[in-house]
């Protein structure tokens, strides 16, 4: 037991450090299923309507791919099915939390500082695991209580809550193993996230296969996400996947403990490889440095966007099929803002989501400047013959052009997959590519807000995320709640025409671009005047 001495104190430290992020994340995630209850009740108030919707959804490859298989048509069935993506979200959060409190601590040397105090060998790992398991459990309880309060069956609600917690627990344990493998937190994070993505893709492939001949439907059984979805809350409440999840979690935790016992603090199982002894001839400018620092991020977002484009493009045609057979659904889609056809409306909605994601990338790329400044990496660069504008500009290339590349990848992928399913690749590729690129000015406005914050209030630079959260809220609430137009107008996305299908005028693009340029210029002007903070 002496190996665990100090776990309690470290646990309190983790809870203290995450006292804002963790509750925010847990509550935000737990509230999503409640939103589904309201929206499904609103769209399909009758059992017959739900049955029809369920029947179509269960045979729609796009939906099954995104959320998993649907096997009932009760309100609970539909909510649990629509929440099929939440285990992935919880898994991601669990991975990030565990890595942040294990490998990041070691990489920064803080673990060593604590390790020298009265803290057992496994105390740090145990505290990170307990905190994350705890957060997952609380999330599950909130889901269960929330759904029960919405008059869904209590048993099913608890099972759904526990399903989420079980998914979170497995990826928590997985991250604990990943944290033992590499010396860098970044690589550990990548390993765990790739494993999560693999679990999702295996489930997706298996479930889609099961809709047809089912030759590779066994793939779902290789995926922890596939297991927990076999629990089927409200429609069977099977318990055996919980046993499986508990076993996997236990095995992974023991593996993490065993690995951590075999290595030194700070070391990893995989040694870091040596790199170049001298800089390539091209590594001679701030832009070359920025490319080295941003290329991984850019590649990740571009690949992610291309995959989303594939999914969105593939789903769009099935939405059209569904709407052709269902009068009420078509009315709804038309009311939400579709002007020339349900499919265009769906594609425009997908591109709207991509636009918000692209802003997340733009803000992340901008905040890299702040990271460079607070990590002490900016100081040596600014002590060379590099002006502040050149330094900032080299990063802002990625802020403003990175999202363009990502959106182009998504538009291209959407155009190809939709074009293949609809049989008009030649027309749909340029159309969807242009529609995707059209959201760029709105993305730039959000990016420019982050630039202004960085220049004027560097300590509050992260508040740029708040602007994105506000736009996301308006995007999600806009269709459902009747908001005054001036409220909707706050979001730059409101001013972008709904494309494809909408009417295009140059004014909004010009105005938004000018606003973005003015904000960015103001931020950079202030950056030139202010102090570069010390470590």
């Amino acid at each position: 037991m002496k190996e665990l001495v100090g776990t309690g104190r470290l646990l309190r430290l983790i809870l203290r450090r995450d006292r804002i992020l963790m509750p925010l994340w847990v509550v935000w995630t737990a509230v999503i299923p409640l939103g589904y209850v309201a929206s499904i009740n609103g769209l399909f108030p009758t059992a017959a309507g739900r049955a029809e919707y369920a029947d179509q959804s269960a045979h729609n490859a796009g939906f099954v791919g995104l959320y998993g298989r649907l096997s009932g048509s009760s309100l609970g069935d539909l909510v649990a099915w629509r929440a099929g993506f939440i285990p992935v979200v919880i898994g991601l959060f669990s991975i990030l939390t565990v890595i942040r409190h294990t490998r990041v601590e070691e990489e920064t040397g803080r673990r060593e500082l604590l390790g020298a105090t009265v803290a057992g060998r496994y105390a740090g790992l145990a505290a990170a695991l307990l905190a994350t398991f705890g957060a997952n459990l609380v999330l599950g309880v909130i889901v269960a209580l929330g759904l029960t309060s919405q008059h869904l069956p209590a048993a099913g609600s608890w099972v759904l809550g526990l399903e989420f917690a079980a998914a979170g627990a497995m990826f928590t344990a997985l991250a604990a193993v990943a944290a033992q493998l590499t010396t860098s937190a970044r690589s550990a994070r990548s390993i765990a996230v790739v494993a999560l993505a693999a679990a999702y893709v295996l489930r997706l492939a298996g479930d889609i296969s099961a809709m047809g001949a089912g030759t590779v439907s066994w793939l779902s059984w290789l995926s922890p996400i596939g297991w927990v979805q076999r629990i089927r809350p409200y429609g069977g409440d099977r318990w055996w996947p919980f046993a499986l999840a508990a076993c996997v979690t236990a095995v992974l935790v023991s593996a993490a403990v065993a690995l951590s016992a075999r290595r030194d603090v700070g070391a990893g199982l995989f040694p870091s490889r040596p790199g170049a002894a001298s800089g390539a001839a091209s590594l001679r400018s701030p832009l070359a440095l920025a490319w080295r620092l941003h290329r991984g991020l850019l590649a990740g977002w571009v690949v992610g966007f291309a995959l989303l484009g594939v999914v969105f493009g593939g789903v769009a045609n099935s939405v059209g099929d569904m709407a052709r057979d269902n009068q009420s659904f078509r009315d709804i889609v038309a009311r939400i803002g579709g002007t020339s056809g349900v499919v265009d409306s769906d594609l425009a909605g997908s591109i709207g989501i991509l636009g918000l994601f692209a802003a997340a990338y733009a803000i992340q790329a901008t905040l890299k400047l702040r990271d460079e400044e607070t990590n002490g990496h900016a100081e040596p660069v600014l002590s060379t013959a590099t002006s502040r504008l050149r330094w900032a500009g080299s990063h802002l290339v990625f802020t403003f052009l990175g999202p363009a590349v990502a959106l182009a990848a998504a538009g291209l992928a959407m155009g190809i997959t939709y074009g293949v399913s609809a049989g008009d690749v030649d027309a749909s590729v340029p159309r969807l590519l242009a529609a995707s690129m059209a959201v760029l000015p709105a993305v730039w406005v959000l990016a420019a807000i982050a630039v202004v914050l960085f220049g004027v209030l560097p300590r509050l630079a992260a508040a740029g995320w708040g602007a994105l959260a506000a736009c996301l809220l308006l995007f999600l609430a806009g269709g459902a709640v009747r908001l005054d137009q001036w409220v909707l107008d706050i979001s730059p996305y409101t001013h972008i025409p709904h494309l494809p299908g909408g009417a295009v005028t140059a004014t909004p693009f010009v105005v938004l671009s000018v606003v973005a340029a003015a904000l960015a210029a103001a931020g950079l002007a202030r950056l030139r005047r202010r102090d570069v903070p010390t470590l």
């Binding site: 990489e107 010396t183 860098s184 970044r186 870091s272 040596p274 790199g275 170049a276 002894a277 001298s278 800089g279 390539a280 590594l283 001679r284 400018s285 701030p286 070359a288 440095l289 080295r292 620092l293 991984g296 990590n375 002490g376 990496h377 100081e379 040596p380 660069v381 600014l382 002590s383 060379t384 013959a385 590099t386 002006s387 005047r529 102090d531 570069v532 010390t534 470590l535």
Partner: protein, 325 residues
């Protein structure tokens, strides 16, 4: 003699803390100038103002004939900087960082780079995250020393280096000194390092320069320790002005004496007959301790009344011939 650095009345406040309080300093071209002071005295703030990273609230600063804030980019072509706490990009190797920083300044001397890597025993192929503190420091040092520049701004550059590497660093600075055309501002709280390397020294305390000059100049301001074995008791010593902490044990006397009273004191000793004599010059450490040991004292000139100094503090530096850290 031209000046590489000159500041007059530099003031910088952070919130309620006054980091610099009318700092005046002057560094001559071609010299190695020690910038000495304990943690928090304002050394780093002063260097950051000289680099144009921070703007002074008041006062003027000139660097290589230019304004460090307005002409930052042009001036940075002619200088190299080593921070006290070097952080490297985790995914760039040490060699890449050295080349990148050198190229973004005025250029890099390939031979000197190879020579320094060898002498500092640094593996340039490791990624930034894999280096220890001392090795990160070496990366920044090699990048600065191999750069083709006129001025080196070194902010506590040897923190984290082992004694062997510190010796390599000293040798490298001495080479710069011999070349004669490079100016080095060496901020440090390691007295032996400053004592061994610097032509002139500025001592900073609470954001003000309290002493400046050569080490010899400063020694004039303090006392020499005398330990003598005498043929007979020397009665006049106790009443002689400038003699402090006089202790007599049998035929032996120990005392500290102000530089201006040294001659008179020695006359007293030789008058009674000296059998053996050990005289120790004041170390920089002593000077330093004298300047800092007065809690809340005035700007602490060494010429203030020194009798109230704790004898232990003054004596500790004297036990070893070299200044201990």
């Amino acid at each position: 003699m031209t000046e590489a650095i000159r500041t007059e009345g530099l003031v910088k406040t952070f919130g309620h803390t006054r980091a610099l309080d009318r700092l005046d300093m002057s560094v001559h071209t071609g010299e190695v100038h020690g910038f000495l002071g304990p943690n928090g005295a304002g050394k780093t703030t002063a260097i950051r103002i000289l680099l144009g990273l921070t703007r002074a609230d008041a006062g003027t600063a000139r660097l290589l004939g230019g304004d460090p804030w307005a002409d930052a980019t042009a001036l940075h072509r002619r200088l190299a900087y080593v921070p006290g706490d070097v952080t490297l990009w985790p995914n760039l190797t040490g060699g890449e960082v050295i080349d990148l920083l050198g190229r973004m300044r005025g250029g890099l001397d390939r031979h000197r780079r190879a020579d320094l890597l060898d002498r500092f025993d640094l593996d340039p192929r490791k990624k930034g995250r894999a280096y220890s503190k001392g090795n990160r420091q070496k990366v920044a040092l090699v990048a600065a020393l191999a750069s083709d520049v006129e001025l080196l701004l070194l902010d506590e550059p040897t923190s984290g280096l082992d004694p062997l590497m510190e010796e390599v660093f000293r040798e490298a600075i001495r080479e710069e000194q011999r070349r004669g055309d490079r100016t080095v501002l060496l901020s440090s709280h390691i007295l032996s390092e400053v004592e061994a390397l610097c032509d002139r020294i500025t001592i900073i305390r609470d954001g003000r320069a309290v002493e400046t000059g050569t080490l010899a100049d400063m020694r004039h301001l303090t006392r020499t320790a005398i330990h003598a074995e005498l043929a007979a008791p020397a009665d006049g010593l106790a009443t002689l002005p400038g003699v402090h902490h006089l202790r007599t044990e049998g035929g032996q006397v120990r005392f500290d004496v102000d530089t201006e009273a040294l001659d008179a004191a020695l006359r007293q000793l030789t008058a009674v007959g000296v059998r053996s004599l050990v005289s120790q010059p004041p170390t920089l450490e002593e000077l330093f301790l004298r300047l800092y040991d007065r809690k809340g004292g005035s700007a602490a000139g060494v010429d203030a009344d020194l009798d109230s100094d704790p004898a232990a503090a003054a004596g500790s530096g004297r036990d070893g011939a070299e200044v201990s850290r």
